[in-house]
């Protein structure tokens, strides 16, 4: 995209002209749309030395005296100069007459990317010299005065979008990388979208923006919390992973509609596409149920959605966790494409295939399959090999590729064992077309679903590499996933339970009796919001009954309730029923902008090892700087260090 046109589109979308209504909106949002349609573009040049931005000048400005400030993007034969600011590019004509020799000298001698201020007149370009690809391509600036504001030294890379740089280099010189169109667009869109969210919450629905502390106490089980030493020996603050306790306490405090764009912290060592600090849109309400939160969030996203993107349809579809697992093999299905998992066990009730017989004889045994559209046409032999190897390595499962209508049953010695009535039933059930390929697996329900869920995504990748469009990046498919189990067996000790999400989630009202008999069967009032196969938010109705909360914490989860005594006490003092949600802002903006990683929607991200490559943080400190905090470094022994370096989660500079 040409620099400038995209930003203009962004701002035009965000501040549409009066009476412009881009799309029909019904219900309570109509008022908000009226409000936003009355907006004008902000004044980008108030209070500063320029009269206009480089990118905004058009033929309507012809004849105006303007002052512009910007960076020298390009110079042609000492006659033209392209000046850039964050709103776009404009052509400046370098004066050639003797009287303007000093102006010419400044503009011709300044290195690329130097900052200059020029004053002059907006004039029409001579006929035939217009540049229709450039938003300012019909005009140019006839310069009268010029001032070099700051000369630029030789750069580590050119500030041009087509010049490819490694991410490490971009992060080291982040302040230069930020000059790119892509980063300008991403950060401005983020700012605008958050602003619209605030308007929706604060101005339209009476939410109160409340800042909660980040220096807090360690949460029980909060293994991923950064510690902050205090000046009291042995006492530490902790940087919380979310304002969960505070938002609930605000409800007890009668601040019944809370939101915060909250900074959260999570120390996971190094993880690709995660950040040690991240931002969530944090929301909590009193007297609300699951539907209330869902309608609120749908309205929020629709209201704040950038007008230059494909619009969002509400209400979002909803699916139970069980259905998501059975149909898509995951709790965050990408519903932009089908390729659903189908249980085909009953088709094989009379099968002669030994291994299917054996699986179906098991109490949990199932046969399942996905139909890969045009798989027979597009998937190559080595793709099938890759998928079967993937299944074997990650799931210890066998996968059978079957082409049941076409005639290409490579690599499937089993195809001949499928009886004709089975084949016909499968074709009918799975709506198999000529060029499709079926991937079949057999095994325990959850394992078979998970495997096929992964293969579904792998197949989509493969088909898209071959040119099919399964997941249109311009489409935004939201989905609620609900009715999660409240507890899961602990991984390290499966007879014990742990919270599927967190211990404050309220049980499903119709399952409460099961808490005392079969707690593993209790569903929680938890809901996840999924966008295009990524989880972008989650929340729940919370427990507001102190006794119930104590029972779950102490009896079922065996947690030390003393660490949460303040919260339990708060529930005893007239806590209202309440619930909430948190949206992961970085991930959401990443999906909206189509950025390849969340690092591209954050101004100063850490590397995946948790480093700031620009300033070299974290860094060593002097022993005397540790003294006020009563801590000292325990230097690892050589063997420990070696071990540590071999662990993938331990960063190494």
């Amino acid at each position: 995209m040409f620099f400038g046109s995209g930003l203009r589109q962004l701002y035009r979308g965000l501040y549409p002209p009066i009476r412009r209504t881009t799309r029909p909106i019904s219900g309570s949002l109509s008022r908000s749309l009226v409000l936003s349609s009355q907006r004008r573009t902000p004044e980008f040049s108030s209070f500063v030395a320029r009269t206009n931005t480089c990118g905004e000048l058009r033929t309507s400005h012809i004849g105006q005296e303007v002052t512009l400030c910007g960076w020298i993007q390009y110079r042609r034969q000492n006659i033209f100069l392209i000046l850039r600011d964050c709103h776009g590019l404009v052509q400046v004509v370098i004066p050639q007459d003797e009287l303007a020799a000093s102006v010419k000298k400044i503009l011709c001698e300044a290195p690329m990317e130097s900052v200059v201020k020029v004053s002059g007149t907006v004039i029409s370009r001579p006929p035939g010299q217009e540049n229709p690809k450039m938003p300012t391509g019909e005009i140019e600036i006839k310069v009268k005065t010029a001032e070099l504001l700051n000369a630029c030294k030789k750069l580590p890379f050119e500030i041009k979008d087509f010049v490819k740089k490694t991410e490490a280099l971009r992060l080291q010189y982040r302040y230069l990388d930020l000059r790119s169109f892509r980063m300008q667009y991403n950060l401005r869109l983020r700012s605008q979208m958050v602003m619209k969210m605030r308007e929706y919450l604060c101005n339209l629905h009476g939410f109160v923006d409340i800042e909660t502390p980040t220096l807090f106490k360690k949460t029980p089980g909060g293994a991923k919390e950064f510690l902050v030493p205090s000046r009291e020996p042995g006492k530490f603050y902790s940087l919380p992973q979310s304002p969960q306790q505070f938002k609930q306490l605000l409800m007890v405090g009668g601040l019944d509609r809370y939101f915060q764009v909250a900074r959260c912290y999570r120390d996971e060592g190094s993880r690709p596409d995660r950040q040690p600090e991240f931002t969530q849109i944090d929301i909590e309400m009193s007297f609300v149920d699951q539907t209330g939160i869902q309608r609120l969030i749908e309205g929020l996203l629709q209201y704040s959605w950038p007008a230059d993107k494909h619009p969002v349809a509400i209400p979002f579809p909803s699916m139970t966790f069980a259905e998501a697992l059975a149909t898509y093999g995951t709790d965050k299905p990408d519903i932009r494409f089908r390729m659903k998992i189908v249980d085909i066990s009953y088709v094989f009730r009379n099968t002669e295939m030994r291994f299917l017989q054996e699986v179906l004889a098991e109490p949990q045994g199932t046969v399942k399959a996905i139909c890969v559209q045009e798989g027979a046409k597009y998937l190559k032999r080595q793709d099938i090999e890759f998928l079967r190897k993937f299944a074997a390595e990650h799931f210890n499962q066998e996968v059978l590729p079957l082409c049941l209508k076409a005639n290409r049953n490579w690599n499937s010695p089993f195809a001949k064992f499928i009886m004709e009535e089975e084949r016909l039933e499968l074709v009918r059930l799975m709506e198999i077309q000529d060029e499709d390929m079926v991937l079949l697996t057999a095994g325990e329900h959850k394992k078979a679903c998970s495997l096929l869920g992964k293969l579904r995504l792998e197949c989509a990748d493969l088909l898209e590499m071959r040119g099919m469009i399964l997941r249109d990046p311009a489409l935004f498919s939201f989905l609620w996933v609900v009715d999660f189990p409240l507890f899961l067996p602990k991984e390290e000790s499966p007879t014990e339970l742990e919270s599927a999400h967190h211990p404050f989630t309220a049980p499903h009202p119709s399952d409460i009796h099961l808490l005392y008999t079969e707690p593993e069967k209790v569903r929680g009032q938890h809901y996840d919001l999924v966008l295009n196969g990524s989880e972008i938010g989650g929340g729940s109705i919370r427990i507001h009954d102190a006794e119930l909360q104590r029972y779950i914490l102490a009896t079922l989860l065996k947690e030390d309730v003393k660490l949460l005594s303040h919260l339990l006490q708060a529930l005893d003092y007239g806590a209202p029923p309440h619930g909430g949600i948190a949206l992961g802002l970085d991930r959401l903006i990443c999906l909206v902008t189509g950025a390849p990683t969340i690092r591209d929607v954050i101004a100063f991200p850490k590397s995946y090892r948790g480093h700031d490559l620009m300033s070299n943080a974290p860094d060593s400190v002097l022993p005397e700087e540790l003294k006020p905090y009563h801590i000292q470094v325990s230097w690892p022994t050589d063997s420990e260090e070696e071990e540590a370096l071999n662990q993938p989660h331990l960063p190494k500079s």
Copy 2:
């Protein structure tokens, strides 16, 4: 103030009815006012179980079926119940007939502060039973159904504003304290005012809201930064005191209008009315000068100022640092009242008083005085004693009280040495009235001014205790203080220099040549914003020239430039001229709301020892929790501990 009426006033002020213009506003702000005057009150009951808030019901609602959720504030003879939510109080009539026995039972048996949901009809109160003091006093609710949502146990204190509690108790049960009218008002006003600031910056003036990291690298000289251990042995992040470096790097990155409501951290041990984490409105612009920033901030404050407060007049007056010191004895003068410091040295050029002769013979010697209005009438003998003792103890200075028109020269053996022409000159010069009292001191300029500046505030306290109104708390007097020195002599080593504010402040253009000859005389392009005698903001035009920045850091300040190499490098790569400001949000909201401490405008503040009294943070952690961070506690020895406990800045549980 009656619960509810104040909040209504707040929201009415913030969302005035259509076409209402409360005060004339000129210039570029008129558009913004049009925008805000078109607003309606937000929908406070969307998405939840209630149809209305308790506080909003009026005679216009009579006949409507409503559902309310709230806390039981009060019950009278099992006939009436006062229900409270965060919008106010409403009277509920408990049904007495047999058919509604279950409803009656619920409403009569629920303990105070229990949460209930009631449905019924809004009816007019019987004639004579209206309560004109209560905003909902003309109506009541005839209940049909009631539900106990949560019963309340015995509370540690009553949720009534007139019930006095210690601050420690309030902080321990913060979630209950938040139910008070005062805290609800303060937090809602804070939220609304910040929202208006965002509208002004983002929607009207094209600023981009950018989140900057809080896990960063230690700043050179950043002795007050909390450390955060990383998983790399001996490597620490640091929680920065402000986004100073990032905002400057954003300017280099071409994001030329940045703002952020930024969380900042400062570890000062315990300090009254300071918080280890606090919030600032952080702003930076490219191509701007001092005046540009000042006009921006004046517009920002006027636009966001609550409509229920005395309006703000712009532009704000401005004063140089030298003038502020000479006239008010401080760099943050409270200009709501006069009592200015007057240099009366020349009056005593021929004095016979030996000690004045001696002071005036010194090269820096001055005689200065303030005229305390009606001081002779209101100040008592012990007040004068207190003031003289204060001067002796804190400044080692003598202060002479003189009543030059009335006849009460107690305690001033010097009065008789004042010659008649001196007396007349002083009366003329200081505009002394009959009941006034002059406080005179003699000494070096800065010391004399500082002393009189303090005495001026002490006198104001004393006079106000006697009933005079000098500093109207409803008035808001903003003041810019400018032309600060760029450097100050280091306290511990006065031949060396340190930055008066920070090392990135640009020198005054007309003083640049002095940098190389008499740097202590250079003024900085720094500006402070003062409100009613409190500093609520400060900023500067920054250095954008790498060479100048290097010279100041390395040669003048003797800092290790390696720690800032990324910033110096950034300045070399086409950094635009830029400047900015930060407003202390907590202090500003404190002054606007008239709260006695900033803890009253923060939802969950720390105690002055840095403790969260509710959750008991900071807290001990297990040694194995420290292990991933390669640190261990250095437990102090008994003698160290004793010493530590005796130091005032070290907190003690």
